[in-house]
Subunit: 407 residues, 2 copies
């Protein structure tokens, strides 16, 4: 028998409070009454709440904090078997949840929050049936807001990923040999990352984006539009996964942009660095320096209270002032953002885009990636993962920022 909850109790309470605070804040904004409880089953949020992935449902009361018993979560576990802990209930089907809650003397709730932006339509209908007298509400924005502010423990795990991520990147020039193509280099980097304990999976909320471990782009392949909403493209090896390396030879005069999975702890860092094969064009050098300048300005601006949209505008204006607007965040196709929250998943809040309404908070984790695609050369510009603090952002990905020669 193993204990279900792998988090220290203080940490669990901190995360539950984040959910309660987020729920109240969104209700005040929307003018709704405070929601009564959440029923959570998405793996990423289950991991957030317990420190492990399990198959089942976490019932999280949001009210009655004064009554410790009534406000404690109930963990309905389908798999793995043999789990123990307070309020851990074995369960086969979600239809059994209401009866089990009644058996635990939990009062019926007036409203129940479900992950409506994540769970399939038929799954939500099935869960709703169990709570016929409760008003359903969409819990996804509440969960996203709560998870966007990382706890010190979460930041610690991200920092741990960052240290290994940096170590792996420091070996990239040694993995290169002349004549290599982008795919061969990508596979070599993936292999090193896995040897260093990278978990490999790249958690993305929702189903529209797909990715393997990384994006290694060289030459004009960096300019090939993809179906996915990633910052950069690439044709990929097959039309069933049209993104990233395509087998293009790394030629003199081109860059290699490396953006490979940093999930070493369940929490990931996101980092892009650029390598060059011989001398590259002045325009590419200038654009790379522009990206570094934008990062330096980010380090000054990105404090609690800063509007995410202002960070995008700053990046765009600097690119425009340098005459690099046609290349900013892509050339044939442009990404709609230049930064994103991350943690357990790669697409968390806040989003750094022109129309973002997000306001930075202390504890946000942001991957900032002002990049350029220069036709004939490839992609340039760096990406770092930052934690927003009361003073300057803390960078978790501290590899050298200049373009590094592979030769």
């Amino acid at each position: 028998m193993e204990h279900l909850i792998l988090l220290p109790n203080d940490e669990l309470q901190l995360r539950l409070n984040r959910l309660r605070t987020a729920a109240r804040r969104l209700c005040v904004t929307a003018g709704d009454p405070a929601p009564a409880a959440l029923l959570i089953s998405d793996n990423a949020t289950i991991y957030y709440l317990t420190g492990r992935v399990f198959s089942g449902w976490a019932y999280v009361p949001l009210t009655d904090e004064s009554d410790q018993e009534a406000s404690s979560p109930v963990w309905f576990v389908r798999r793995p078997v043999e789990m123990q802990g307070e309020n851990v209930v074995e369960l086969r089907k979600p239809e059994e949840i209401p009866d089990k809650l009644a058996a635990l003397h939990r009062a019926p709730v007036a409203s129940i929050g479900l992950e409506m932006d994540i769970l399939p339509y038929t799954t939500v209908l099935r869960l709703m049936k169990g709570f016929p007298s409760a008003k359903p509400f969409n819990a996804s924005p509440v969960i996203a807001l709560a998870r966007s502010v990382k706890t010190p423990m979460e930041i610690g795990l991200m920092a741990q990923s960052g240290v290994i991520h940096e170590a792996v990147y420091s070996h990239i020039p040694a993995l290169y040999s002349p004549g290599m193509n982008d795919f061969e280099l990508e596979v070599a980097i993936e292999n090193l990352a896995r040897q260093e304990g990278c978990l490999g999976i790249f958690r993305i909320s929702g189903q529209s984006m797909e990715f393997f471990m990384g994006n290694v782009l060289t030459g004009n392949n960096a300019d090939v539009p993809t179906p996915y909403d990633f910052a950069l493209g690439g044709a990929g090896k097959d039309p069933s996964l049209p993104v990233g390396a395509c087998g293009e030879e790394i030629k003199p005069g081109s860059t290699v942009s490396v953006d490979v999975n940093g999930d070493y702890t369940g929490y990931m860092t996101d980092m892009t660095r650029v390598y060059s094969c011989g001398k590259i064009s002045d325009k590419a050098m200038k654009a790379h320096q522009c990206s570094i300048d934008i990062h330096n300005e980010f380090r000054r601006m990105a404090v609690p209270g800063c509007a995410a949209a202002d960070l995008y505008k700053m990046a765009f204006e600097k690119a425009k002032a340098a005459g690099l607007e046609p290349y900013f965040m892509g050339h044939r196709q442009h990404a709609s953002f230049c930064g994103h929250g991350l943690g357990i998943e790669i697409n968390e809040m806040p989003v750094i885009s022109p129309r973002s309404k997000d306001i930075l908070e202390e504890g946000n984790a942001i991957a900032f990636e002002p990049k350029f695609v220069i036709p004939g050369t490839g992609a340039v510009g760096i990406e770092n993962t930052y934690i927003i603090t009361s003073s300057a952002p803390r960078c978790l990905t501290n590899s050298p920022e200049e373009i590094i020669s592979l030769l």
Copy 2:
């Protein structure tokens, strides 16, 4: 400008007809009127219909086959940009679909099928708003049924994956060195697979199951229950992804069960083979032979018209007769199936489980995996990918089936 549709027109028409036939068949069963059109956006089915993944919506009329113009699909493409082809329409938001359809002189439909088992609740509501006078229906079972019968072209791609899958497995003993742990061997196999062109991603329909590239299990780690509905378990390297290799040393007297990603073409094969470190117990040897015997019986039984549930029962009865029931499909935790359809995704129809209602059809692709977990030794039993034909099933994964020594 690139052409959106990468499939030959005959192949596209064949797949559209599979959808129409499946829709009619399910309607006859349910007593519903024939559905008018589908609106599809899930990547796997978009790939099925076009031969590529794009971001957008495929509008597929199911009726009016006599009127070629009215029955041809409309391809609403958000990304990638610069796509051409008949009835290819650039689009930013799904709300614009009804107006665009009207502009193409498409008549309003009485019913519209959406992927309700896959798409998030809020996405389905958003799509429904565009068709206020159409009755929405769940298209997921129609799509699953259509895709469960593979076309000759699809079978060709799976066979191509199988050939490379076999070649990679033939090198596994050479990747092993004494003292290695399960994770080190897994990473070495992954690396070889990637070098041979494995696409890496392991498409799973729905969001509850997560996986990286493979499952390499040795000793008692094979007996650790996981949250996921895979045939076998393992603790994994981290509680954020609790499945598979955990860093356990491959010890004398234990087996190594290797079940690694066979997606080399967008279509995957699934294959498990077992390796031994020194002499293993008689019980494990017997269980492995029982798995091979079950496969031999499968080869006799699995013809069109055979009930999937009968295949499960046959496997279970053979295990029971051999006194191996406590170890069949797991020991501390048991999987609820011993085979599954596959193709673009790993969890397609039919399902080989005790309560499955699926009946085998010519063209089904089935990964059949009667396995055993023997405490103290590890997992044994093989998995093959078969195509159901009018005579005996065609095996696409023809690596040697006996236990192979690593020493």
